[in-house]
């Protein structure tokens, strides 16, 4: 018995030590000291932001649209956290933010986020959805997690976007060893002799990298745009020599064939790009040539598609809807071209693009105004759009709202694992949005039930020393400060005077104990429209 006891207590002891050392060791640096704001003062940076602002202002004047006022800095900080990291700012981060001089603190916040692993992980997952979707794919030939991890590495290193895309299209090798080839191997299917599918690849390539839904022309000529079925087939033919073997994806021989119209005979299709053929290089493997053509700085669609997606991630709504179709009926907004040209001119630097968009006037407008707001204002970006948060943002927000400190890569592995499990369960029940993340869908009844009565929320608001509710109610000097801290923690804003008065009276008069009161306040804030929507 003695030995087993000893073993048990040793185990507990080691566990406790690991936990505590992990908890205490995380040295939280205030990166305010390291902030370098030069990028935001460069003349060409100021110029492009100015051109975007001027373009919107011209639209507003011409359309007699009155824009909303500038939003509070904290609200903008919340948008940045949700858009770039998929979570809300922690109370700790809010305090650091507010300790900085007003001028430039949003730039400080953007920089801090851009160097946070939560940003790279979030962008990796978002772009992975555009590149390979959410499906599990063929079990043997596809490793989605490796693919997402590879994307995260690229974003962390701030690899130019065009280089990333060239790797996706033209890499050779094994999916485990060269993660980029998972872009190709996800289309491998048993009924296709375990070979990549040129049709799916062509469709995906056009939508993800060019923002063109050429795959609709797969079956018929496009009703609105000028695309023909032959355009699609020509694009697919670039993947006609892509094979899968013992060494993974490789370029071999062969021709892409389709059924000739009106007969069962197969005819060969030669690779051909649907436009700007002069940009297509003569030499190299077919995929290399295609990759070079797509990412060529003069290909008008490549930069536009990327800008539209990053804009959508920041605003919750793309500049041109839907996000992967730049050829809908309406004209292309001039701002898209301004930003696309700037993105190409800056070597497809994703962080630069984020900085520019996040520094524009429209990104910093309020979502409310004293004058009535209609669809006209929404369409003209004269008011910040209301966008429903994705499930991962909601669960990220709930988890963060339950903690005073930021839940980042610095938190202990043990807690990160628990959080990961919670996220998975929550998203499963909430309903994942899948690939199309910006389609403006409304919420559902099961989602509201999950928020009102679900396990995660209960765990996160109940009276536990690990939860923000308890910590705030203990540490705040008085009720007013505690209510304010609760609002900052969950909604990233201070209560209005009415709200403050209401909850102070509730705290003073309620028969519930203090812990229960805060449980109820947290429940309320987490169930509000304001929490579940980006605004």
């Amino acid at each position: 018995m003695g030995r087993r006891d000893l073993f048990f207590w040793t185990l507990i002891g080691v566990g406790a030590f690991a936990l505590v050392s992990g908890l205490l060791s995380s040295s939280r640096t205030n990166s305010a000291a390291h902030f370098d704001g030069k990028a935001y003062e460069a003349p060409d940076f100021v110029a492009i932001v100015g051109r975007v602002d001027a373009s919107f202002r011209r639209d507003w004047t011409a359309g007699h649209v009155a824009a909303a006022p500038r939003a509070d800095d904290l609200l903008v900080a919340r948008r940045l956290a949700l858009g770039l990291m998929g979570t809300i700012p922690s109370l700790e981060e809010i305090r650091s933010f507010e300790s900085l001089p007003r001028d430039g603190r949003l730039s400080w916040w953007i920089e801090r986020i851009l160097h946070d692993l939560r940003f790279t992980d979030n962008f990796a997952e978002r772009f992975a959805r555009a590149f390979v979707g959410t499906e599990e794919g063929p079990f043997i030939f596809y490793r989605r997690r490796r693919f997402v991890a590879w994307l995260a590495e690229q974003f962390a290193a701030n690899r130019p976007y065009d280089a990333m895309v060239r790797d996706l299209i033209a890499s050779e090798g094994l999916w485990t060893d060269k993660p980029a080839v998972n872009f190709l191997s996800v289309t491998v299917q048993a009924d296709n002799n375990n070979q990549p599918d040129p049709i799916r690849l062509a469709g995906r390539t056009a939508r993800a990298f060019l923002g063109l839904r050429l795959d609709c022309a797969q079956c018929h000529n496009h009703p609105y745009a000028e695309w023909k079925q032959s355009d699609f087939q020509g694009l697919a033919a670039f993947f006609g020599q892509t094979h899968l073997g013992f060494t993974g994806i490789y370029d071999g021989s062969g021709e892409y064939r389709v059924k000739a119209r009106g007969s069962d005979e197969m005819r060969e299709v030669a690779p051909r790009v649907p436009f700007a053929a002069e940009l297509l290089p003569e030499d190299g493997s077919r995929r290399r040539r295609l990759a070079a053509w797509i990412t060529e700085a003069n290909n008008p669609y490549f930069a536009r598609a990327a800008v539209n997606r990053v804009w959508a991630l920041l605003f919750g709504r793309p500049l041109v809807e839907p996000v992967d179709n730049l050829e809908t009926d309406g004209p292309i907004p001039p701002v898209l071209d301004l930003l696309a040209d700037d993105f190409a001119a800056h070597g497809f630097d994703v962080r630069h693009l984020v900085r520019v968009i996040a520094s524009t006037e429209v990104f910093r407008l309020d979502s409310a105004a004293d004058h009535p707001l209609h669809e006209t204002e929404e369409k003209a970006w004269a008011v910040f759009p209301l966008a429903r948060l994705r499930p991962d943002q909601v669960v990220g927000g709930i988890q963060q709202a339950a903690s005073v400190a930021a839940l980042n890569a610095e938190s202990h592995l043990f807690f990160r694992l628990i959080r990961h499990g919670q996220r998975h369960d929550f998203v499963q029940r909430y309903g994942d949005t899948g690939e199309d993340e910006f389609d403006g869908r409304g919420g559902t009844i099961p989602q509201r039930l999950l928020m009102m009565n679900g396990d995660l929320l209960r765990e996160k608001i109940n009276d536990s020393p690990l939860n923000a509710g308890r910590q705030i109610s203990w540490m705040a000097a008085d009720d007013a400060q505690a209510v304010e801290a609760a609002y900052l923690t969950v909604l990233t804003r201070r209560p209005t005077p009415e709200e403050s008065r209401y909850f102070l009276r509730f705290l003073a008069e309620s028969k519930l104990n203090r812990a229960q009161c805060f449980e109820d306040i947290f429940w309320t804030l987490l169930n509000a429209t304001e929490f579940s929507w980006n605004h």
């Binding site: 599990e136 469709g203 309020d366 979502s367 869908r441 509201r448 999950l450 009415e498």
Partner: protein, 424 residues
């Protein structure tokens, strides 16, 4: 148990009454049909609800509805007679065999998807995965096309959901199935964790926060639909109809007949849900992916399926519900006729079985035959599109109806032809 059927009748009457009051302008053609049927006309009533018993993982046709006794591919599996002459099931389905006069079998299902995720999508929606559009599952289509009929609880329910429960696709997340577990437990997330008094006070708090957010956003905040959805969720939490999930209210003998398993209870709950007007219930029995040790593993699941399926059909019939309920028993594909080296069967989308029963379906019929040697293609192959066209027809939805999906593209709800042989 009478109260439930009462609610149901009352609802239909209410619905028809309301329909009369509002004028017929908003009525779909199907609602017309229902209305006339209710007036006692002797027309065929289409089914009003659909129950999908979803066998996830890919059940073996040879160990369920399509045995080939004494052949190489049977690998020892024994067949039993059913109540219909010349139709045999695999041993283990003795009770279901007695219900064969109510069942229609498709033994020649062919699909193009041999991967679980893609196969599930295809069988549940009737379409192969398409990167440009997300198709709704059959249950979502029924909820979209058939009238609401005064149901406070979700009209699309998935009991014991596996990895890919039914979704609304381009119809919207509002048509996703409501997911809940073993009916022995409370329905997920429908009970407040706080006392009633506290719960009501929380709603008052919420009012204060909502009002603050609404300032300066008048007109915009309604577009979120947040508060309306919240109110509907609250209505559901207090609805009497939630009792439909409580199988413990059923007599012990009946519960035993369905089997003392989560799946059996799920099927019983499904019947109760149909009674209150729920349009589609999916009950999942997971674990059919028997790449190893096929016979023993399939048999274990068949032993769960047999009592549940047979009791469900009998129960529906005895309550006069079978005529207005379409029952579908299916998985994403079948299993290879040839056994592999470890006594398993692998994925096989080229000739597998689906069983149908109830509203609009002629019982006792069999469509298609598979090759006893497992080499040739099945006779009279039925595509997944054909299956879905048949299901839609059985619930009175025009399978050719053209729907306008987002991005302005038009799509049909099904791309096949209904199987006239199986439809009444």
């Amino acid at each position: 148990m009478e109260p439930l059927s009462d609610i149901c009748h009352a609802n239909r009457r209410q619905f028809l009454h309301r329909a009369g009051l509002c004028g017929a302008a908003w009525l779909t053609p199907l609602a017309h049909l229902l209305a006339r049927a209710a007036e006692g006309e002797k027309r065929r009533k289409p089914a009003q609800s659909i129950l999908v018993l979803w066998l996830q993982g890919g059940p073996s046709q040879l160990e369920t509805f399509d045995p080939h006794p004494n052949t190489d591919i049977a690998a020892g599996t024994v067949a039993i007679p059913t109540a219909v002459k010349n139709v045999q099931f695999a041993a283990g389905l003795e009770r279901t065999a007695e219900e064969m006069p109510s069942l229609a079998l498709i033994r020649s299902m062919v699909s193009k998807e041999g991967d679980h995720e893609r196969g599930v999508y295809t069988m549940k929606t009737g379409f192969r995965p398409d990167p440009t559009i997300l198709h709704p599952s059959i249950g979502a289509v029924c909820c979209h096309e058939l009238p609401e009929a005064g149901v406070d609880i979700p009209r699309h329910v998935s009991i014991l959901p596996a990895q890919w429960p039914s979704r609304g696709g381009f119809l919207g997340d509002g048509y996703d199935a409501f997911k809940t577990g073993d009916p022995a437990q409370n329905v997920s997330d429908t009970h407040s964790r706080a006392s009633r008094e506290r719960d009501e006070q929380r709603l008052k708090h919420l009012e204060v926060v909502e009002n603050a957010f609404a300032r300066g956003r008048a007109g915009r905040i309604e577009t979120t639909g947040h508060r309306e959805t919240m109110e509907r969720a609250r209505r559901m939490m207090t609805s009497e109809q939630l009792k439909a999930f409580e199988v413990a209210r059923e007599p012990l003998a009946l519960r035993r007949a369905y089997g003392d398993t989560p799946f059996g209870r799920g099927c019983l709950a499904a019947r109760r849900l149909v009674e209150v007007g729920v349009r589609c219930v999916e009950v999942t029995l997971d674990g059919w992916d028997t790449h190893v040790n096929n016979h023993a593993l399939q048999r274990k699941l068949v032993d769960i399926l047999d009592p549940a399926l047979s009791a469900l059909i009998r129960d529906l019939r005895e309550r006069d519900l079978l005529q207005r309920t379409l029952v579908v028993v299916a998985g994403e594909f079948g299993r290879t006729p040839k056994m592999n080296a470890v006594g398993g069967r692998d994925h096989w989308p080229n000739g597998f079985s689906v069983a149908l029963a109830g509203g609009g379906i002629r019982g006792g019929r069999v469509v298609g035959e598979t090759d006893p040697e497992g080499k040739q293609k099945p006779s009279e192959p039925v595509t997944v599109g054909d299956l879905h066209a048949t299901l839609l027809q059985a619930v009175g939805i025009d399978s050719n109806k053209i729907h306008r999906a987002p991005i302005g593209r038009t799509v049909r709800f099904s791309e096949g032809k209904p199987l006239a042989d199986l439809l009444e």
